[in-house]
């Protein structure tokens, strides 16, 4: 498969220049030009893949606006390093400073984006995060037990009732020590349904559905008539546990797993589930105390399909399906067999009819398999090679990314005819239309997130930025408008109109509402307190000085906590804080916020500290000194700002 991809790329390259030239038309620049000082129309949230973060771009300009740290530490602002945020990355295996962030979903109400939260998944150590869109801050991280390779996540139901997490790498439940070769008997995948509080957004694992050992790949919720259902694509129903490249590609068809989550919810309420011990971390950030806490939970509710009839059905789907996408009406389920030469489109109404008429062709480990034809709306013939993902424009059209043939293909949901195709540079993975997985897609733009970049930008050695490409899809023909580089390796993305978010941004934190345990409410309260070998420094920052800025009486081996409160009350006036030789990170402290940096000096010396965020004309003056004396020496605790030998003598 990799060999094929490389060969395709090589083939594309030889003729690429011509294609690229014809693909870009003269008015592309006017359609993407956003004048200085003007805003983009759209916020585009892009998964960071192996950088564990989420990037935010403006569309149509492709300008990078922000990188939100989610599953990766970020020394730039102290996320994962400050005392307040370490708990966000806590797991049952301690602080894990990295993950692989693949998919995003914006919260919805009635199937439409509501601009409240953004959900993100972590693949490697299964976790789901919630980001608040008034602060662009990660507010919650929930670990998922009984899972591995959390890939078909964090997709949501129509009213954000649930966020799902599905297992890509089946594992034994619990922590049994079993041979890998006992996969068929001992390994399971699980589909976790995480409830979301509709007011606070707080997440909680409501139940986990135990499924046979296989790889759940992607998922999407039904909508409208299919509201009660969730659909997961699966591969490796061969149950291979080695050389999957070959062994998981044996069968003609794997399955779309159709889960009636309403029914599952009823079963869970009716006590059909089994509570089992399971250890997982639930990390939440509290806006009032400005600190995160990590709670280790000990139990989870499992639902076994055997005890829960009519909850799950399998729909055969050709050749290791990847994308599993539901059209805006909720009637069509598009499975994209990544090794298939066609795209099957299933009909929800035919599926329910087939279930009612018991049109089954056996079962998969006890789960009924619906007859392929009985659920099939039709097949898109010869769409291209390597279909991966499909999004919709709300005008009856679907757009599918073709990894192998490096193109986006537009086709009609009604008659399944291919309407248009446009090249991508190169090997497109995910594609995204703003609102393209909701009831109300925006039919103006499409972005392709490509896996291979090659010669699209100025070369930067062996490692290149990933390329994204913006297309105008408002007309009959798709038109390439813009290439822009992205960070990490983007997978799925989301986008919404800027108006949904931009006017509710928090600009600074009200200092009077700061409930941090170590807040310093004004310079008068600045202090240094020693308890044993712990030294708490209550420090303030305002343009352009720190109080205290001279600290003495600290000894080698002390645990020094700098609790820095930014006293500013204006937008875009953060202060930074860093101290020499600290094997930690720096802090960025937003106006009205208190953040803590820990420093354990292991050598005697004078340690300068300073503001790292250029804040005023006298920013270079915003600094101070910590004197660290040998352990056991007789230096009294002393601190202040503005006191000099002469000023003290004058008193």
């Amino acid at each position: 498969m990799l060999g094929l991809a490389v060969a395709t790329t090589a083939a594309m390259q030889s003729c690429k220049m011509k294609t690229a030239a014809t693909a870009v038309q003269g008015d592309a620049a006017t359609k993407t030009y956003v004048a200085p000082g003007k805003y983009d129309e759209i916020y585009n949230f892009v998964s960071g893949g192996f950088n564990g973060q989420v990037s935010v771009y403006g569309l149509p300009s492709g300008r990078l606006l922000k990188v939100i740290p989610v599953f990766a530490v970020n020394p730039e602002n102290g996320y994962g390093y400050s005392e307040e945020t370490k708990a966000m990355l806590n797991t049952t295996n301690g602080l894990i400073p990295w993950d692989d962030q693949h998919h995003l979903d914006l919260s919805q109400t009635n199937g439409e984006q509501d601009g409240r939260w953004l959900f993100a998944n972590a693949n490697n150590t299964p976790r789901v995060a919630r980001i608040d869109l008034t602060t662009f801050k990660t507010m919650e991280v929930l670990q998922i037990p009984n899972s591995a390779g959390n890939h078909s996540s964090p997709f949501i139901t129509e009213n954000t009732e649930y966020v799902v997490a599905g297992t890509r790498f089946s594992v034994p439940l619990g922590s049994e020590d079993v041979p890998i070769s006992s996969f068929k008997d001992n390994f399971h995948s699980t589909a976790s349904f995480i409830s979301v509080d509709k007011n606070t957004g707080k997440m909680d694992i409501a139940f986990q559905i135990v499924l046979p050992g296989m790889n759940l790949d992607l998922s999407h919720a039904g909508k409208g008539p299919s509201h009660d259902w969730f659909f997961f694509s699966s591969y490796n129903t061969e149950q291979a546990y080695t050389l999957l490249e070959v062994n998981a590609s044996q069968k003609d068809k794997d399955y779309i797993v159709a889960v009636n989550w309403k029914k599952a919810e009823e079963y869970a309420k009716a006590g059909k589930g089994k509570k089992v011990p399971a250890s997982y971390a639930h990390n939440t950030y509290d806006e009032h105390t400005q600190s995160a806490t990590s709670e280790i939970k000990n139990e989870v509710l499992l639902l076994d399909p055997k005890d829960c009839p009519d909850m799950i059905y399998m729909i055969p789907c050709p050749k290791s399906p990847h994308g599993c996408d539901i059209d805006p009406s909720g009637e069509y389920i598009v499975g994209s067999g990544k090794l298939a030469a066609l795209i099957p489109v299933f009909s929800f109404s035919k599926m329910t009819g087939a279930i009612a008429g018991k049109q089954f062709e056996g079962d998969f480990k006890g789960i009924p398999i619906i007859k392929y034809e009985a659920a099939l709306h039709g097949e898109v013939q010869k769409p291209g090679l390597g279909p991966l993902h499909t999004e919709f424009d709300g005008k009856g059209n679907a757009y599918t990314s073709m990894f192998l043939s490096s193109e986006v293909v537009k086709w009609s949901l009604k008659d399944l005819k291919v309407l248009d195709r446009v090249p991508t540079y190169y090997s497109v993975g995910h594609l995204m239309i703003p609102g393209g997985d909701t009831k109300k897609p925006g039919g103006k733009y499409l972005v392709a997130y490509n896996k291979i970049t090659k010669d699209r930008f100025l070369p930067t050695g062996p490692e290149l930025a990933q390329s994204a490409q913006l297309y105008d899809i408002s007309g009959d023909k798709m038109q390439l408008l813009l290439d822009f580089p992205t960070f990490g390796e983007p997978h799925y993305a989301q986008a919404c109109q800027a108006s949904l978010i931009k006017d509710k941004q928090v600009k600074f934190y009200d200092i009077n509402k700061n409930g941090h345990e170590y807040v310093t409410m004004g310079e008068k309260k600045a202090n240094v307190v020693r308890k044993g070998n712990r030294v708490d420094i209550y420090m303030t920052a305002i343009r352009s000085h720190l109080v205290p800025d001279n600290i003495e009486g600290v000894f080698v081996g002390d645990e020094v906590y700098f609790h820095v409160t930014n006293l500013e009350q204006d937008w875009d006036i953060p202060h930074g804080f860093a101290i020499k030789n600290n094997p930690n990170a720096e802090l960025l402290i937003m106006p009205g916020e208190t953040v803590t940096l820990k420093f354990t000096p292991d050598k005697q010396g004078i340690y300068p500290f300073y503001c790292t965020d250029f804040c005023s004309a006298l920013h270079q003056e915003m600094s101070g000194y910590l004197r660290v004396s040998p352990k056991g020496s007789n230096v009294p605790l002393k601190f202040g700002t503005g006191e000099t030998v002469t000023s003290v003598a004058a008193k």
Binding site: K31, Y33, E523, I542, R543, L567, E568, D570
Partner: protein, 165 residues
């Protein structure tokens, strides 16, 4: 050649946008009033006279003073001072980052003080006295987002500090 024509297109677009002032596709994403707080300002005016009748720029055109001073307002003003102002302003006449407050209610009209507290950026950009102070202190006074009431209480605290009864 493609590169050149594309560049020309961008330049032409820019010109077009400039001459039209706005572009239709931007209509729904217009920016709110521009924030000039960090932008270049007009050259500072002459240093003002020690006493000024100027009320400054902002919503306060007429402030009713209390007689005698309102003790509750003073207490509230003091607590605001300690959290939001004391980092830069001493109660004596001594300059720290900003000028000391001793005598400020003699130097400035009550309206000017309250406008400066609540409408800081426009005052620094446009008010000659405020601009002169910027030249002296070299740090723009931060807008600490005081409410109107907080600003009034602070004024009372300043009057108390100046020995008014």
């Amino acid at each position: 050649m493609k590169q050149v024509s594309l560049l020309t297109a961008v330049a032409a677009t820019a010109l077009l946008l400039y001459s039209c002032g706005s572009t239709p596709q931007q209509a729904d994403t217009e920016k709110p009033a521009t924030d000039n707080s960090m932008a270049t300002t007009a050259p500072a005016a002459e240093a003002p006279a020690a006493a000024s009748d100027d009320k400054g720029k902002g919503k306060f055109t007429s402030v009713t003073l209390t007689d005698p001073l309102d003790q509750a307002m003073i207490t509230s003003g003091k607590s605001t001072y300690e959290v939001k102002c004391a980092a830069c302003h001493k109660l004596s006449a001594e300059k720290l980052v900003g000028p000391g407050w001793k005598g400020v209610t003699e130097r400035r009209k009550p309206e000017w003080i309250m406008n400066f507290i609540t409408n800081t950026d426009e005052m620094i950009d446009k008010d000659p006295a405020a601009q002169a102070m910027l030249e002296e202190c070299m740090v723009r006074m931060p807008n600490q987002h005081l409410t109107d009431d907080e600003a009034r209480h602070l004024l009372e605290y300043m009057r108390d500090n100046d020995g008014k009864k």
